[in-house]
Symmetry: C2
Subunit: 331 residues, 2 copies
């Protein structure tokens, strides 16, 4: 029975300002980043992945990480996180007073090598350094498992490898994990199976999922994850984002479209959908290109169109037939 | 438990040549229509909605309905259907030897008036005429319920009204129904609830669903319908299609993307996905514009990318760690 066991309240985490902006051809001005983040804060997102403390040589688009963190207005209850790739990044993130650091590795060896220039084992060694810096600071830690549902170079990854990676993170003392469908290869059955397995193996571990809509399965995968008990979703305003080493993987699932579906299904997000749609509609002008989100273009399912006046004259519509005889089953 | 009770074999019905081509700005040449239909037949679709026997004034793009029907090569086992709006259309469809006629009305009164220039009650009266023509011919009949999951002018339609419309069709002797999310307002919870209710109220009635991806929920709704026991899906090659009276409703769910997801989830479709992707890739040149399907652009989830040679030299990737200790639960 669909939705019967799904969470009724979920947390929506915004990644556009990191996963999205990092992939843009042009640098998004610092003031615009701050403006977007401040409005996202007001819209009720649970968490905002503000930026990434990487070297400005590696990702020039996020070279203003410290300035953005310093410029935003923090809202009580919102978690402001940042991606950190190494000890140096962790030190900068702590100095910038992030609430959470996000560590990332891919379980696909080749993707990890392409993306991070490290083997998986080397990534976990590097994480030890980061965890050493963060320990005792009170800053939260999340471990992202990229290519959890498939690697562009190696294909589907075994569930056992995902469970292994989660355990590696736990041994390092990580507080939560993010299972990322980096190149949009996960399908609903796989998402359900893998998420359930992680929840069963690590019942107390907070689990987030991070989907891309590369092959149109993004929101179907959200439904599958919900059924598996997942209550935390990474999404991107406008559906922007991607992965530089997986060129066709553009498009995280859109925050607007995801919140719209969840709320329609009776799953509370705490997000102000109208504010989000309005903000998403500013992106094309800011970025200089169209964005994938549907809601920004077509509006909500409850937005009605005006009935053509020429047809109003055409003839009286009879009252709807009585349909009381049709008992509506409670499903 | 997702997918546990879902059908393991489903039927995929192609609507691009009717729902798609009717909405194109330019007339698709008859020879091209025939070429596409013949290749769809070979690709293993269960049914092809070939055309519509409407007046050529109403829909000039399908003015070649009889020629297309006469020109295609029929493949054993494939159902060749056509939409018919009235008695005249039914006579032409029978003469063209269609296997099935598809009747259409919207349960949204205003949408029915806008689309068909009739009230709902008038539609069912007109259908009596059509059923009189078809009776005894051996030609199958399907009744489509448009705006079943929402009307662009009136919004959400009550389930009781959908059940009423299905019963009206049954009283006319219709053999199957098609529940159509004409403007993409259905969401997974609604799809599940409405489809289950129809299946429960009319257990022996073959039910097809017809989704549009207007708000990104298309494939999520397929998952929801599957869970409700639906085993027949209307889809459109390239994701083309729409509704002239619902201008933003462009895009049926794509045949390629739907088959790709279903097969990945272990649901058999009988469709040759590679043949379908190749055919869908011909559409932009034929129609003179991009099409919404994702698969045509990014390929299947199992298509691997070449690993950059520069990285092969970078260092030996260690053998994957032993993950035998991680028991994979059977979900």
């Amino acid at each position: 029975m669909l939705f019967k066991n799904a969470p009724q309240r979920v947390y929506v985490n915004e990644v556009a300002t990191r996963d999205g902006f990092q992939n843009e051809d042009a640098f998004v001005p610092t003031v615009d980043k701050i403006h977007i983040i401040d409005r996202l804060s007001l819209a009720g997102l649970a968490k905002i992945e503000v930026t990434s403390f990487v070297s400005s040589k590696a990702i020039p688009n996020l070279r203003d990480a410290a300035d953005v963190m310093a410029g935003i207005t923090r809202r009580q209850g919102v978690v402001y996180s940042a991606l950190v790739p190494n000890r140096q990044g962790a030190l900068r993130a702590l100095e910038a007073k992030v609430d959470e650091v996000n560590l990332v590795m891919s379980i696909g060896e080749k993707h990890n090598l392409a993306n991070l220039r490290m083997t998986c084992a080397q990534s976990f060694v590097a994480f030890r350094d980061i965890m050493g810096v963060v320990k005792g600071s009170g800053v939260r830690t999340m471990g992202s498992v990229a290519t959890a549902f498939g690697c562009p170079f190696e294909g589907e990854q075994p569930l056992s490898r995902l469970l292994w990676a989660v355990e590696q993170y736990l041994e390092l003392g990580i507080q939560s994990v993010d299972l990322c469908d980096t190149v949009g290869t996960g399908h609903p059955r796989m998402i359900y199976t893998y998420c359930r397995a992680v929840k069963e193996a690590f019942p107390d571990l907070p689990v987030t999922v991070h989907f891309h809509d590369t092959r149109g399965m993004g929101l179907a995968n959200v439904v599958a994850a919900l059924e598996a008990g997942i209550n935390s979703f990474d999404t991107s305003l406008g559906g922007i984002g991607g992965c530089p080493y997986a060129p066709d993987a553009t498009g995280n699932i859109s925050t607007e479209d995801t919140v719209h579906m969840l709320e329609a299904c009776g799953v509370a997000t705490g997000v102000d959908l109208d504010a989000l749609i309005a903000l998403g509609r500013e992106l094309p002008a800011l970025l200089g290109h169209d964005v994938p989100s549907r809601l920004g273009k077509v509006g909500k399912r409850t937005d009605l169109k005006p009935f053509p006046a020429s047809l109003e004259q055409r003839g009286r519509i009879e009252a709807a037939p009585s349909t009381e005889a049709y008992r509506v089953p409670s499903v």
